[in-house]
Subunit: 322 residues, 2 copies
């Protein structure tokens, strides 16, 4: 009888513990404990580290932090697919680099063309349409395209532990924002349904737009001209421009996020900085210092020096994708 | 007895009506009725015009729409006061226009210098400090400076009917945003306490900033270089950049707001556009087509053509300031 009661109570206690865990895809680890400890201390009224809800801003990089980014940024695949879709209207592309390399499916040759070639591809595929047209193009692509390696839809290559983290922070009054080097208008059409992050909380790189009246109907036309690069030094600049307050927590995975983490860490009061370290070659990809995308080198040094949380994907996450 | 009951019930009914009026500074008028009708139809579930809360974005111009703007934009007074405060460090300004005119208190001569002169004053007073330093400077000024004509603090020259309107919209699930030609970092330090609008919902003109590490501490330095002019054609561009969705309601007072209203009106579904028309020379200022600030000319024509609401300040508002 006594044993039965203890067993029943234990089962209840365990099931309550499991039910209460808001981060089930996270193994019990120092990384998980650091997240929970931070959230508790800034949200517990009376805590010396308490932060009012309006100031609980958490910023997340996207590529490599919320979804995968290998073998190249997913937005590059979008650009390549657009080149193929637009090729019939541009017969000259067959003999013209970097377009010809894209049409041949020769990604290596495209990348060998360097930044100038990639920028040309971005402009050819992201400009020349209205903002509404571009939104439709992105929505269509994201709902049909498949990743060349995993053959999964790109939106199913988001990280389950990070989805849980986003929900956990929001449940504790945080405003979750994306601060990505990726295109702001490339992320907005799907980020709300995938991450629960509305368009006004998304910051990214952008091209310029121009207001026009077309037959009396106002449109915003996307121009082949860089407006803002939301990477490295640009991330704190973008945060100040869009949010106007300093985040109290920041999450990234590469040296491109370092300045965002430094900016966040330097504020007064409790702060939290976290790097996702890609260490799982089997379930995802393993890379850091030598990677051509998502290079994490200086960031690892700074993380250690400043006692920031570093997530070891292989050890700390029991699931990668939903 | 019967009469007493009717009188009592009437009194009760009237007092309930008064208690329930969320817009007491608005006289019963077509303008007020149009606001209430719009809010009811987009927030009433089951209405054919229902709009989900997440999409209830309302954008407000600031100068002349939420607070006064005569005899010149208040931010210009801020710049003039900064010139005076900085003058001891710049003895050369005594003999150098447009600085000398500011130091002489000769506003006419300053304005005669045109846009180039004003831009020089803005750069001399808004750049060269960090974002944190600038925030402190604005906070100090706004809490001490007085308007040269009314002798009131500038923040008490906000429009009571518009404060009520902001609160009324928020109570109905709207996100209220400022979209102003004024400086984004000039508005943010005080807009939250005065209007209840947080920094991330403020869009304005801006200068560029640069991320720097100073003795290891990250700062954003304000540079004497225009980043974005949030006026006229720039307003829809700024809205798309910051919010990423089209407003369903927009409020302005000048031709500088026309494109924002056009952009708002052109969306699908129910839309609301309103112009504040400055018609009250006694309690405020009366101006429109010929004014050097807040000129309202094309806007009046478009408002009539499109049946937008035009507020006659003198007739429609029983109070101007709180």
């Amino acid at each position: 009888m006594k044993i039965a009661v203890v067993a029943a109570l234990s089962a209840l206690w365990v099931s309550k513990l499991i039910a209460a865990d808001p981060l089930p895809a996270w193994n019990e680890s120092a990384a998980k404990a650091s997240i929970v400890a931070f959230v508790e201390k800034v949200t517990h009224e009376g805590s010396p580290d308490f932060v009012p809800a309006a100031e609980r801003v958490a910023t997340f990089d996207n590529d490599g932090t919320l979804w995968a980014e290998q073998p190249i940024y997913f937005q590059a695949f979008f650009a390549f697919d657009r080149i193929k879709a637009l090729a019939p209207q541009h017969p000259e592309w067959k003999d013209q680099e970097p377009y010809a390399a894209v049409l041949r499916g020769d990604t290596k040759a495209v990348l060998a063309g360097g930044e100038k070639g990639l920028l040309e591809l971005i402009m050819a595929t992201h400009a020349g349409v209205t903002t509404e047209e571009f939104e439709g193009i992105v929505k269509e692509w994201i709902s049909t395209a498949r990743h060349p390696v995993t053959k999964r839809p790109y939106t199913s290559m988001v990280y389950q532990p990070m989805l849980e983290l986003l929900a956990y922070l929001r449940a504790h009054g945080f405003k979750t924002c994306i601060v990505s080097g990726g295109g702001i208008e490339f992320m907005r059409p799907w980020a709300e349904s995938v991450y629960g992050i509305p368009p006004e909380q998304i910051i990214g790189s952008s091209i310029k737009t121009r207001f026009e009246l077309r037959d009396g109907k106002p449109v915003l036309v996307r121009l082949p001209e860089i407006n803002f690069i939301d990477d490295k030094d640009g991330k704190p600049v973008g945060i100040q421009q869009h949010i106007g307050r300093r985040p109290i927590a920041a999450f990234g995975n590469s040296d491109g996020d370092l300045q965002m983490l430094q900016w966040t860490a330097a504020g007064a009061g409790a702060r939290f900085c976290l790097y996702v370290h890609h260490t799982d070659a089997e379930r995802e990809w393993a890379y850091d210092r030598e990677s051509h995308v998502g290079r994490l080198d200086r960031g690892l040094v700074e993380a250690q020096k400043n006692a920031w949380t570093v997530v070891n994907m292989k050890a700390d996450w029991n699931r990668i994708y939903p």
